[in-house]
């Protein structure tokens, strides 16, 4: 059996969630990696170095530059006949394109898998992770998105797979990229960071994120996240959101500051190895999942924390 994994990349590097998807695909058989984009040979070369990848398919055309779902789904459809499993990480791109591919193949997609039992059977969280369902697919082909936090990524180096260029598929031309407003940050990406510090409504405003969270994040080399409440209130941009409908993270250390711990937020971080909660309300539900809880006013605790870490 052979699995095709859609790579997520920045034209040069393969992103960590895609390396987790390769790890999941390895449980199913031989793994081929698809790098689609425009002027992305460097990314294909990076994919070729992933241990466990037997072949890289490179589809290089202007239509794939922005990973729009319509041309990308058409490309995957063209490649699908050679594969038993089609996978992508559960990123914004994977979630956008894979169900479209599944429909074209008359297949029920299996979204956001957290475990592989066998070639037909997968474990996936439902109800914001409050239940884990084991589901068995009766479809001939499986179309899958992979919850990156549930699979240790394969290393970035070590393999040497051949790269094969594939001709582009049809571009339906019905969608067009206009612009992107992407957050710029020197910090690690949320879904790849070893340490994450997140702020909630208790932060009161965006300025306090900069004044209080950022210095601690700098000391820890941490990514900065947020609860939905903090994003809805406009303290930080949408891409900071950790939770059921935001990003799913499982870092070694997760520090929740001024976050009460709604189940939708817990869904996004409860698989972290160590959880720290700082909240002035000792009844906050976040303390029920925290390994270390500190009942304190964050406006005093965070500067103190930055100072302690600096020593």
């Amino acid at each position: 059996m052979t699995a095709l994994v859609l790579m997520e990349h920045d034209a040069t590097h393969i992103k960590q969630p895609a390396r987790s998807a390769v790890a999941a695909a390895q449980k199913l058989g031989e793994v081929h990696a698809l790098v689609a984009g425009h002027n992305v040979r460097a990314a294909a070369e990076a994919a070729a170095k992933l241990p466990g990848v037997a072949k890289v398919l490179l589809a290089d055309a202007p239509a794939y530059e922005r990973a729009l779902a319509e041309p990308l789904a058409a490309l995957l459809m063209k490649l699908a006949p050679s594969y038993d499993h089609l996978l992508a990480p559960s990123t914004a791109i994977g979630k956008n394109v894979m169900p479209r591919v599944a429909a074209l193949l008359d297949v029920q997609p299996i979204s956001d898998i957290a475990g592989v039992e066998d070639a037909d059977t997968f474990i996936r969280p439902i109800y914001a992770g409050n239940a884990l369902a084991t589901v068995k697919s009766s479809d001939a082909k499986k179309v899958i998105t992979v919850r990156a936090a549930s699979f240790d990524p394969v290393p970035a180096e070590g393999g040497s797979a051949p790269i094969e260029e594939v001709p582009p598929g049809e571009d339906p031309g019905s969608s067009r990229f206009i612009s992107a407003e992407l957050s710029k940050s020197e910090r690690p990406e949320l879904t790849a960071a070893r340490v994450v510090i997140s702020g909630g409504r208790g932060m009161q405003n965006g300025e306090n994120f900069k004044l209080l969270i950022d210095p601690v994040a700098d000391k820890l080399g941490a990514a900065v996240g947020a609860s939905r409440a903090a994003v809805d209130a406009g303290f930080v941009p949408n891409d900071y959101q950790v939770g059921q409908t935001g990003k799913i993270v499982a870092p070694d250390l997760y520090v929740a500051v001024g976050i009460s711990g709604a189940i939708q937020h817990l869904a996004g971080m409860k698989d972290s190895k160590v959880i720290v909660a700082i909240n002035k309300d000792e009844e906050a539900p976040i303390f029920q999942v925290a390994d270390y809880g500190l009942v304190a006013d964050l406006f005093q605790a965070l500067p103190e924390l930055a100072k302690e870490l600096g020593a």
């Binding site: 008359d106 029920q108 299996i110 884990l132 990229f177 891409d239």
Partner: protein
């Protein structure tokens, strides 16, 4: 222009779900059910487009057991004009839902379908994309802003790195993310009015679709529980524990 808004009846988002003792699923008997929150946002967006004069008619569609009528009534009370219920006791998965929606779109000929990006029960995040594929329409998923001009929808999408704006040709599919709008509460007079709005009931067979699920549930279990840890008395103690006990910094 006509807008079709599919709405799903799900366990209310405030309910703490419990896994059934026999491992076949999640307890839904006697549990409060509501419209999927993302679908509420979709209905609101459709109603706003009608209020702006962009849309002329809003058709709300729900699928499942007879009680999905209530979910449609909620959409009607928010401002949808009429409803269609596809009634079945079969467990519906996104593939079957998207096929039945395709059949309804062929009949109703809307210019735009707006639906929630994901249902909070199965967390599949698939139906909108699948419907777009069946229709051969473009898709604007995870939308935080939608502007309609001429034959184009300009959709700002919530993506991993921030926001992305795409232009898609109508007819098209839009799936609603959290920050597209804040749904209104239906007023009492509108709830009363909604009772008089028509709801048509059809069966999957009327739409020529076999809704048999392709995924069978082998078992459903509770995730491993995290134990509440301990409280520390000071920042100093916290840092000491993280360094020497948890060894994560």
């Amino acid at each position: 222009m006509k807008i079709l808004v599919p709405v799903k009846r799900v366990v209310d988002y405030n309910v703490k779900v419990r896994v059934k003792a026999d491992g076949t699923g999640v307890e839904t008997a006697g549990v409060k059910m509501s419209m999927n929150p993302f679908d509420e946002i979709a209905v609101e967006e459709a109603v706003r487009l009608k209020e702006k004069g962009v849309a002329t008619e809003i058709v709300a569609v729900s699928m499942g057991v007879a009680q999905c009528q209530e979910t449609i009534r909620t959409a009607l009370a928010m401002g949808a004009d009429r409803g269609i219920l596809v009634e079945t006791d079969v467990e519906l998965q996104p593939l079957a839902v998207a096929k039945m929606l395709k059949a309804l779109v062929d009949r109703e000929k809307p210019t735009l379908v707006i639906l929630g990006k994901q249902a909070i029960d199965d967390d599949m995040n698939a139906t909108g994309q699948m419907l777009a594929a069946f229709l051969g329409w473009p898709q604007g998923t995870f939308a935080s802003k939608v502007a309609i001009e001429g034959d184009t929808a300009t959709v700002t999408r919530e993506v991993d790195g921030g926001l992305e704006t795409v232009a898609i040709k109508l007819p098209a599919i839009v799936t609603a993310d959290l920050r597209l709008n804040e749904p209104r509460y239906a007023s009492l007079p509108n709830i009363m009015k909604a009772r008089k709005k028509p709801i048509e009931t059809v069966k999957p067979a009327d739409l020529g679709v076999d809704p048999t699920p392709r995924l069978t549930v082998v078992r459903v279990v509770e995730p491993p529980k995290r134990q509440a840890g301990r409280k520390v008395a000071s920042v100093h103690e916290l840092v000491e524990k993280l360094k020497n006990e948890a060894k994560v910094i």
